[in-house]
């Protein structure tokens, strides 16, 4: 895990000496409801509102070390592994195979896998295929709203190296530039059986205490943010959103 991440860090400087700034053909306006403004409350009091500051927290994530003794951490890891709550966010076409997964034929509930509709309660983000820039922004936010420890599984070849959208102007190519990925499942689409296999492998990683993506994200927060901001031009959100 560490190794391949270091490898990744090593790679960066050669390939991207400076972020290429493209001349903006038009200015990106800030969305109406995000503009700072002053409102008058019913009682006549003037309130200054800056939505981007008020609704979110600017503090970055911190590394959360396993604070327990080995045995308890192992027990916790076992529990984390056996209770994978997937965020119900179908980011790409891979979402189509999630439904068979959760229904009678494959019944992933048997293996402690459930989906949760809110990122707060989920601890596994499945990036189901390609991410358009617009979705990437939402995926990042969802990821950041999840709680440590959290895991990311990249599903389909498009998360690995762009897949069949390798020359598209609107999809990212390497998921690991933007989010820490624990596992990749190749295929287009990967079958539900392959997904189950992937989740099974993820469980092994978690049990072995090797799935520390959340901490990796916190450690390399700057780098991830730089990468994210390079592709997301319309960055109307705080750097970190609780």
């Amino acid at each position: 895990m560490k190794d391949d991440f270091e490898k990744l860090l090593d790679q960066q400087p050669e390939k991207e000496p400076e972020p290429q700034e493209r001349p903006a053909l038009r200015d990106i306006p800030v969305r109406e409801e995000l503009v700072p403004r002053t409102v008058t409350a019913p009682d006549g009091q003037e309130i200054r509102i800056d939505p981007l500051q008020d609704y979110y927290c600017q503090a970055g994530p911190t590394v959360q070390t396993p604070a327990y003794t080995r045995i308890i951490e192992d027990l916790f890891n076992w529990a984390r592994a056996e209770s994978l709550w997937i965020l119900g966010f179908g980011t790409g076409c891979g979402a189509i195979e999630m439904r068979p997964l959760m229904t009678p034929r494959f019944d992933a509930y048997r293996y402690g896998i459930q989906w949760r509709p809110t990122p707060r309660q989920a601890n596994l983000l499945v990036i189901s295929g390609y991410l358009s820039v617009k979705t990437l922004k939402r995926a990042i936010r969802s990821y950041e709203q999840m709680q440590n420890p959290k895991y990311v599984v990249g599903l389909g070849s498009c998360t690995i190296n762009g897949g069949m959208y390798w020359d598209s102007y609107n999809t990212i190519k390497r998921l690991d530039d933007y989010l820490p990925v624990d596992l990749y499942i190749t295929g287009c689409m990967p079958r539900p059986e392959a997904l189950l296999q992937g989740f099974d492998d993820l469980k092994k990683l978690i049990r072995a205490g090797k799935a520390e993506g959340a901490n990796k994200y916190a450690e390399n927060f700057e780098r991830y943010k730089t990468n994210q901001k390079r592709v997301i031009k319309d960055w109307d959100m705080p750097d970190y959103s609780w």
Binding site: A79, S83, P104, Y109, R110, R120, Q121, Q147, W242
Partner: protein
């Protein structure tokens, strides 16, 4: 009944048994529901793991004091309810802290949890929570009304406000159960029961397809674990009340388990096969169908 210190460990033992039974029972219910959906469903011990997992989440964030207190209130409501009604009739050990006026207290606790939840979830600032809370409060209010009426009817019927006495009055054969002695009240109460179990057709509060997932949207890690714990205690505590009031109580654990299972299953039986009502539809439904039953029950008595 007088207070003795031994009652505290005894009631904690009750709590322990109920928590475990609740964890298993909710899993079992999920499995049964899954069967109707032609699949196996979660392992029976899954709830334990989920609970442990949620306690083991390392980070958690808060939206203020009330946000934190919400689940605590809710849990208090559940535990309180359980502790102040006798779980096993006639058993010294498992009568808990019941006393003469415990029926009123029970009604209070049933409401207490929802209010706490409303406060906490409201604090989280998430619009889905807010919508969920407003829906929840209106629905709970209307669904509890028939129940309150039924309880009133029962209290009138038995001329007591002590759950213990009510149970005692039902002993001596199935035909003595309120179910048969006052079927209208039971019907009203059971309809209200459907409304409080957060299952279709009355789960618009959570409604994952509309406002994922309602009040608990922002809750996570240990907060969520607290709520999960409550989610296994509270329905059972509530069902204990129902069991005591309408189904002759339970004189032993096996009977307790069976009756609770059946009462719980009743909500599942309806819930699996129906979609959910919109909130104003369910409010209207309770007012049209359940309320008259409750009023009739009182009138009959």
């Amino acid at each position: 009944m007088s207070f003795e210190w031994i009652m505290i460990p005894y009631s904690l033992l009750t709590l322990f048994i109920v928590i475990n039974y609740g964890l298993l029972l909710t899993a079992l219910m999920q499995k049964i529901g899954a069967r109707v959906g032609r699949r196996h469903g979660i392992p029976i011990w899954q709830n334990y793991i989920d609970l442990l997992k949620n306690y083991s989440i390392r980070s958690s964030i808060t939206h203020g004091v009330m946000f934190y207190l919400g689940p605590v209130f809710r849990l208090t409501g559940g535990v309180g309810l359980l502790l102040f009604v006798p779980t096993i009739f006639g058993s010294e050990m498992f009568s808990n802290l019941s006393f003469a006026g415990d029926l009123i207290l029970a009604l209070y606790f049933i409401f207490f949890g929802s209010l706490g939840m409303a406060l906490g979830a409201g604090e989280s600032g998430h619009p889905h929570s807010a919508i969920g809370v407003s829906r929840g409060l209106s629905q709970v209010t209307t669904s509890e009304l028939p129940f309150a009426l039924a309880v009133f009817a029962v209290a009138l019927q038995y001329q007591t406000l002590s759950v213990n006495d009510i149970v005692a009055a039902q002993q001596g054969g199935v035909m003595n159960w309120t179910l048969f002695t006052n079927p209208l009240a039971v019907a009203a109460a059971m309809l209200s029961f459907l409304g409080s179990m957060m299952r279709p057709p009355f789960d618009v509060v959570l409604a994952p397809q509309e406002i994922p997932i309602g009040p608990p949207t922002e809750y996570h890690s240990s907060y969520l674990a607290l709520m999960q714990t409550n989610r296994v205690i509270f329905p059972i505590a509530k069902m204990v009340v129902y069991m005591n009031l309408f189904f002759g109580g339970a004189a032993s654990w096996p009977v307790f388990f069976l009756k609770i299972f059946l009462i719980y299953f009743f909500s599942l039986f309806i819930g699996v096969v129906f979609p959910r009502f919109r909130v104003e539809q369910s409010v209207r439904w309770f007012l049209i169908w359940a309320m008259p039953l409750g009023i009739a029950a009182i009138l009959v008595v």
